[in-house]
Every structure is written in C-alpha cells, then in structure tokens.
C-alpha cells in the first residue's frame, strides 16, 4: 500500500503535447477514478505511473520516492488492461502465479496466494485452462487475480470492464468495490462509465485536454461542478445550459426573450453567463403555470421519463419519475428552481456557492 504523488507531470510525443502539468496527491488506500472524454490523456497518465511511458517533465513519487527512472518491474505496481493481456500460453493458474514465480517466492506461498485469489474470484474450476477457453468475464477475473496475488503497492485499471456486457459490468463493479473494501489498496481506475466513476470512487479526477478540471468526491463533482466542462461531463442525461445576459428577474437570451429565474447573484448583472440545471431538477407543471415550453420528444426509460422540451427555442431535457408526463399535451409549463441552478461566468468558471 502506498501513496502516489504526481507533481507537474507533463507528457509530449514529439511536439504534440498530451498532458500539460498534472498535479495529484493520492493518499494511501484511496480509490481514484480518472474520467474524461476520449483522447484526454487518461491512459497516458496511467501508463506513466506504471512506467510504460517516459516522463517528459515533472515527477512521480511512490511512497515519497521518485520513480521516474524506474523500470515498471521495479515499481511494484499491478495493472489490469482493457484487453486483459493474459499470457495465452499459460494456464489460468500460471497466469496468476507468474509474477510470484519471477520473484522466486516459495512454492507454498505462491500456491496459497493463487488459491486465495481464485477462490475470491470464483476461478477455481478454471485454474488449469488456457485463457483461450474462457469467456470474457472469466478472463477479466483472471486479469484481476493476476493483479491481486502479489499484493502490490497500487493497482492501476485501464477501462477494465469496457469489454463486458452491461449486466456483467454491474456485477464486476460491485466485486471491485468489495475487493477494494477488503484489500484497501491504493487504486487508480480509468473509465468512461459515469456509474462506475460515481459508485467506485473515493475521489474523481475529471480531465479534459490533458488538464485536470476538478478533483473531488463524486457528489462534490455532481453537486458543485467547478466549471462548464465538469458540469456537462458528469451526469446522464447531461446538464442543461442556457446562455445569455444576467438581468433582474432572469436571463436575457440571445434572441431577446427572457427566461424567468430566481434571483441571480447581483455582481453578475449585465454579464454574459451560462446557467446550468440538471434534468431531474427542472419542474414540470400543467400548461399555463411557469414558463411555457413545447414538447419535442418523450423517452420513457422504464425507471423514469426523459422529456425533451423547447424553451424559447433552447433545447431542455427533463428527467421525471412522474408517469403522467407520458400523456402531456404539445405544450407544458416549466420552472427552473433557483436553489438548483449552477451559474458559470463567460470563462465557464463556477460562480457563487
């Protein structure tokens, strides 16, 4: 178990800069989830921590020791690849024991570690099989098993569940959570999946374009996104944004119409702002109450209903559990409750509390 300290880490491929100075302190035993759009440098950051990519600038410390120049094999870190990267010529048991055999661990220790891991992951019936003869989910477990047998200082996961179907992903997600509660190992987990990020993380690191946008607990990112990017990236369906000029009584949109909002902060008056509101916070009424909006599309998800509206020409998504929304007319009333509004200035930085 270890803490990982990343200081002003930069990565460039030739003249193409991928990471622009990442600072991140990961505490011992913490579960960190990296999220961000494709190509933002999540895998690059992870692979630099593992030692698979050279550091262009900055420093990585594990337990206070600089590891920039250390070979991956000397960093005592385990990694689970998206492709699993199981050794096809070895059986499941050999795959899992490989790292221990390389370390010349005693035979009994190795056997015990492998059987403990295989028991935990339900791999006992497959120990003598080759990876070829396993299903995707079973391979995923072997990859996990290979990581946990050697009790490394830290675990790195690069989208480990993205090749599994939805149901299996849900199940493995729960198992990873249990495993972390069990082993309390420092973990860094890269994912595209909102729910994985929200459910697994102690802290989420939201990245965009090689820059860390916000670090915080899942609910912090959800409730108080630091900027427009995080606000739009976290949450599904995504947050609604209204752009315009702050005025008394509401927001003056580009087309001149006024959206009635609760009091906007006084010091923003006259400024270009973006107002964000999550779909589940928009309140629907019968036609005539609140602002009038046109109903574009109704998507029942089973759990709830997503209603797509046009409010003064702007698209707004609403998420509601109220099934009467299914039978609403062509027009409907909405209000955007003041206590649920997120306010961003022209630079996209969060304003107010």
């Amino acid at each position: 178990m270890a803490s990982i300290d990343i200081k002003n880490l930069k990565k460039a491929y030739g003249t193409f800069s991928v990471l622009h100075g990442i600072d991140l302190l990961i505490k011992d035993g913490e579960f960190i989830v990296l999220v961000g759009p494709s190509g933002c440098g999540k895998s690059t950051l992870l692979r630099m921590i593992a030692g698979l990519e050279d550091v262009s600038e900055g420093e990585i410390q594990i337990d206070g020791l600089r590891v920039n120049e250390r070979h991956p094999k000397d960093r005592d870190i385990a990694m689970v690849f998206q492709s699993y990267a199981l050794y096809p010529h070895m059986t499941v048991a050999e795959n899992m024991s490989y790292s221990l055999r390389l370390r010349r661990a005693a035979k009994e220790t190795t056997a015990r570690a492998v059987s403990a891991a295989s028991q935990k992951l339900g791999l006992d019936p497959f120990l003598e099989r080759r990876p070829k003869a396993l299903s995707g989910g079973q391979r995923q477990r072997v990859a996990m098993g290979r990581a946990i047998v050697r009790q490394p200082k830290a675990f790195l996961f690069d989208e480990p569940l993205s090749n599994l179907d939805a149901r299996l992903r849900e199940q493995m997600r729960a198992e990873i959570k249990k495993m972390h509660a069990d082993l309390k190992a420092t973990s860094i987990y890269v994912t595209h999946d909102q729910i994985e990020a929200m459910t697994l993380a102690d802290r989420i690191v939201a990245m965009h374009g090689g820059v860390v946008q916000q670090v915080g607990s899942p609910l912090e990112l959800y409730d108080r996104p630091a900027n427009l990017f995080v606000a739009g990236f976290i949450g599904s369906p995504g947050m609604n944004f209204l752009e315009g000029r702050a005025e008394d009584g509401g927001l003056r949109l580009r087309d001149g119409s006024l959206v009635v909002l609760g009091a906007l902060s006084k010091d923003l008056k006259g400024q270009e702002v973006t107002v964000g509101v999550r779909p589940e916070h928009v309140v629907l009424h019968h036609e005539g109450e609140g602002m009038s909006a046109r109903v574009d599309l109704i998507e029942p998800t089973g759990f709830g209903i997503i209603v797509h509206l046009q409010l003064n020409g702007l698209p707004i998504k609403v998420f509601t559990l109220d099934r009467s929304a299914l039978s609403c007319g062509p027009n409907i009333g909405v209000t955007l409750p003041a206590e649920h509004l997120h306010l961003f200035d022209a630079q996209g930085i969060r304003q107010g509390a």
Partner: protein, 310 residues
C-alpha cells in the same frame, strides 16, 4: 425392379444417365487439375525413380537396360557417397543453425522502432533477391586472395598464416559455402520471424514487465512460445531445402578440394552432369529423397505429439 424403385423414391426418380452424371460431377470438375498434377508431378517422378533401376549412361549407347538394385549395391560400397552424406549433415546443420540464430537476432533488432527502419529492413532483405549462382560467384571472389579482401583481413586478424584461399584449404573449405549460404539465407528467417514477432500483442510485454519480468524472462515466456510454431516450420523447411541446395557448392568449390565439400546433392550433380551417369545419380537422389522423407515424418510426429500435449 421398377416397382421397388418407384416405392423407394416415388417423386425423385431420375433417368440412370442423369444419376450417373450427378454422381460423377465432382470428379469431372476436379479432373483437369488431377490430370495436370499427374502429368506434371507424378510422371516425371516415376520416370526419375525408374532411372535408378536402369543403367543410363549418356556416353554409352548400349546402356538403358534394367539392372535392378545394382546401383544401390554400388552405392552401399561407395565411400565418396558416405563422405558426402557426412558433409551434408555438417553443411545443413551449420547453415540452418547459423541462419536461424542470425535471422532471429536480426528480426529482434528490426522489431524495435528506430530512425530509418524502413530503409534498413529493405536493405537487409536484399541478399534474398540475389540469384544463388551470383551469390556463389561473389563469395568465391571474396575468398580469393587475388581479387577479394577477405583473406587479407583474416591474415591481418591472425586467423590465417598467410592470405590464402579458404576454399582450397581442405580443413576449412566447407566454411566458404556455409558462410555464403548463411549470408544468403538469413533474410528468409529474418522475414518470417519478424512477421511472427510483429503479430505478438504489445500489451503482453507491458503486462509482463509490470509483473516483474526482465528482458530474458519476457523473451522466454512470451516471445519464444509465440515464435515456436514459426520456428518449427521454417527450420523444417530450410533443412530440407538446404540439404538439397547444391548451387553454392557447385559454383564455389565444385565439391573440392578432394571431395571435402561434396554434399549428396552436389554429388548427384557431379554424377549426372560430369560423369553423365544418370542412372547412378537417380539412385543417389532416391536415397536422399528417402532420408528427407524419414526426417520430415519424424518432425511431423514430433509436432503431433507436442500439439497433443497442449
């Protein structure tokens, strides 16, 4: 009979001509290819084999008669043949081993990215494009102290007492064609092994180095298992090929000095085109064919047993 047929297949009764055409259809379709194979491959093979049992000497107009196993009896007492057999083992073993080792090293070097890799790859594969006779001549000249630099370099390095011709030294003459053969054959191994190397998923190496494997451990637990099938098949192919491959020897030494570089294949060539004894040459060829077939069988059995063990 017609009653039975009607009862058996009341709705599918076809005239016998049609049925016959139907059943012979696949044979008719494949007939052209089969006939071609028989004419092109089997007829010459059978003819060649039949020479081994006949007395065929170009210079003797009365030869051509059937003499049974007479050639094989003579072969059994032919010391030159046994020496050629021993030389063949030596020639084939050394050539294949060195070609493989250098080819593998080359493939491993070319597998990692470096500046100008494309050009180097193309250059490395050049020897393969050189006709074998040209390669033989080229190396014969290189070993010739009058025009080639090699003897002078060997002399300067202290490997030789005087800058003489390696090819005329009975002790070391075999090394000449072997070196030429290695130079000529490395690209074959390099190409095939490089293709196999590039098919190995990179993330396996990454996973292994994270698991704590150093270069040798990664090589032995990932690279080798992946290359094994390619190695087996290329070594098998090259062994058969090289033991049959007399071009370089014929061009560089002609089997001399004192038959020191005579291999079975070049011995066949000598018997057929220098002594013009086609019958005897065919008998030797038949023995070589038999030996190579036994070798191939052994390899195939070995492979089978290895696969079954998996």
């Amino acid at each position: 009979m017609s009653v039975a047929a009607t009862r058996g297949a009341p709705y599918h009764r076809k005239p016998w001509l049609k049925r016959m055409a139907d059943s012979s259809e696949p044979y008719l379709y494949s007939a052209p290819a089969l006939i071609l194979i028989v004419v092109v491959m089997l007829v010459p093979l059978v003819l060649g084999i039949s020479y081994a049992f006949r007395d065929i000497q170009l210079l003797n107009p009365f030869s051509g008669g059937y003499i049974g196993l007479e050639h094989f009896r003579a072969l059994g007492q032919d010391d030159a043949f046994y020496r050629a057999l021993k030389n063949t083992l030596w020639w084939t073993g050394a050539s294949v081993l060195l070609q493989f080792v250098f080819g593998l090293i080359l493939a491993l070097l070319l597998d990692r990215p470096f500046w100008g890799r494309g050009v180097v790859q193309a250059l490395v594969f050049l020897p393969w494009a050189v006709p074998s006779f040209l390669a033989g001549l080229n190396w014969a000249w290189l070993f010739n102290p009058v025009i080639g630099p090699l003897p002078h370099w060997f002399f300067a390095l202290g490997l030789m007492d005087e800058p003489g011709n390696l090819l005329s030294d009975p002790r070391y003459a075999m090394w000449g064609p072997i070196i030429a053969n290695v130079w000529w054959g490395i690209p074959f191994f390099a190409i095939t092994l490089l293709a196999a190397l590039q098919a190995i998923p990179r993330d396996l190496y990454e996973a292994a180095s994270i698991d704590g494997a150093n270069w040798f451990q990664r090589f032995s637990s990932i690279t080798l298992p992946f290359l094994a099938p390619t190695i087996a098949i290329t070594v098998l192919l090259r062994t058969v090929w090289i033991s049959n491959f007399a071009d370089l020897i014929v061009v560089m030494t002609g089997g001399g000095p004192a038959d020191r570089t005579q291999i079975v294949a070049s011995y066949i060539f000598t018997q057929a085109f220098k002594r013009l004894d086609f019958g005897y040459a065919s008998a030797i060829a038949l023995v070589l064919l038999g030996l190579l077939m036994i070798y191939s069988m052994l390899i195939i059995l070995l492979r089978q047993s290895l696969i079954n063990k998996d």
